[in-house]
């Protein structure tokens, strides 16, 4: 049995705080020999913005030909989907928002065309996690990002209860997260928890 993990690193800054958080989760997951990880930095993913043309409501596919052609299938195929983003201007960064907006094709499939996203036997056997960092120290700095993150997961049959969150505020300059008292420990623990939970679901 292979557990497929697809991880989108959403920050335009490579190896910054949110990506480090993601890397810690992935490193902890990778200790399990059954886990296969694919990490996708969105800076290299060639994902255009959604044009709002609504063609997917009829065609069941997007009319744009770009990186999403590859990630569409990988998103369906994965058991665990991770997304990381910094908070910019009180919201998710533009790069991951572009990915989320392009999930419209799944929304059309699910809610307009009423077609399945994953085969029935895989429902409830997929998990997600959102990893975020913010420079601001306000506790509510992540609030506006969460509804869009939920959309990202809902349209691919990952329910609210199956999404985990690890969001660290008050880290701004590159490397600031390394000095955070709990972030690494929590990320490592989260990686283990998600893999254990998924194994439990797959065995059920």
């Amino acid at each position: 049995m292979t557990i497929k993990v697809l991880a989108f690193a959403g920050s335009p800054r490579r190896n910054g705080n949110s990506e480090t958080l993601l890397d810690w989760v992935l490193a902890s997951m990778a200790e399990d020999p059954e886990v296969a990880i694919e990490k996708v930095p969105l800076t290299e993913a060639n994902i255009n913005i959604c044009r709002g043309c609504n063609a997917c409501e009829k065609l069941n596919k997007c009319i744009q030909r770009d990186g999403m052609d590859i990630y569409h299938d990988k998103i369906i195929d994965a058991d665990i989907i991770l997304l990381s983003s910094p908070i910019f201007c009180m919201g998710i960064a533009a790069l991951p928002k572009a990915l989320i907006d392009r999930m419209q094709v799944f929304r059309s499939r699910k809610f307009v065309l009423k077609l399945p996203i994953v085969p029935p036997e895989r429902k409830g056997k997929r998990l997600g996690a959102f990893l975020a960092s913010a420079g601001q120290d306000w506790p509510h700095v992540f609030d506006a990002a969460i509804p869009s993150v939920k959309c990202f997961y809902h349209v691919i049959d990952i329910r609210d209860a199956d999404i985990s969150y690890l969001m660290i505020n008050h880290v701004d300059e590159k490397g600031a997260i390394d000095k955070h008292p709990t972030a690494k420990v929590d990320a490592t623990k989260l990686g283990k928890t998600i893999i254990a939970e998924l194994k439990k679901r797959l065995a059920a």
């Binding site: 709002g52 201007c89 960064a93 533009a94 928002k97 939920k150 701004d172």
Partner: protein, 201 residues
């Protein structure tokens, strides 16, 4: 002195519900005597903020494209109306891409401390958010407001009002909405009247 109003359309879909609502607001402003301009983000060439924090050193963005000139244009207007449809419970990636590039203004305010707006300046500069959503939920716009707050405050605008209309899927378009188009027109007239009075003081 004429009131100047800048409309910024953040929809990738030309002449859709949100841009139509923005147009109604701008028509109202024009009818009240304002000088009105509209910029469509889709027609501009700008990249996402790189998060490089170079602007934290001297308050300037190192990326040279259409984003920074638009902030400069925005900051000489009396009123800015920023429009975006709701996609996936937030503003579009296109508008978020523009707003994120405003980091250099934030850096000027809080890092280099070279930019400060007086309460009088803020009162005389009004920011308005215009949006539509397919969803019927009343909270569908909530995820958008904080980023607009950030944009308006960093560019020296009071966050004056929201002109929003949900449930577009049900109405089959903004023109079938019973009140939104007229409300937007009236709000365009009203904000210009308010700004004109302030200019005379």
């Amino acid at each position: 002195m004429t009131v100047t109003v800048l409309g910024i359309s953040g929809s990738p879909h030309r002449h859709g519900n949100t841009e139509t609502l923005l147009d109604s607001f701008l028509d109202g402003a024009r009818s009240a005597g304002a000088t009105v301009e509209k910029v469509v983000l889709k027609d501009l060439d700008y990249s996402a903020c790189r998060g490089c924090n170079a602007c934290h050193k001297d308050g300037n963005c190192i990326v040279k494209d259409d984003a920074i000139p638009l902030f400069e244009r925005m900051m000489v207007a009396d009123c800015v109306a920023v429009a975006s449809p709701i996609y996936s419970m937030g503003i579009t990636a296109q508008l978020k891409g523009f707003i994120d590039r405003g980091q250099f203004l934030w850096a000027r305010r809080f890092v280099t401390k070279t930019l400060e707006f007086s309460p009088e300046h803020l009162a005389r500069h009004k920011g308005i958010f215009i949006s539509t959503a397919g969803q019927s939920w009343s909270h569908v716009f909530d995820g958008a407001y904080p980023s607009l707050t950030a944009l308006f405050h960093d560019a020296g605008f009071e966050y004056y009002d929201n002109i929003v209309a949900n449930n577009m899927d049900e109405y089959k378009g903004i023109k079938n909405h019973p009140t939104a188009m007229n409300d937007a027109f009236l709000k365009g007239q009203q904000v210009v009247a308010v700004l004109e009075t302030q200019k005379k003081q």
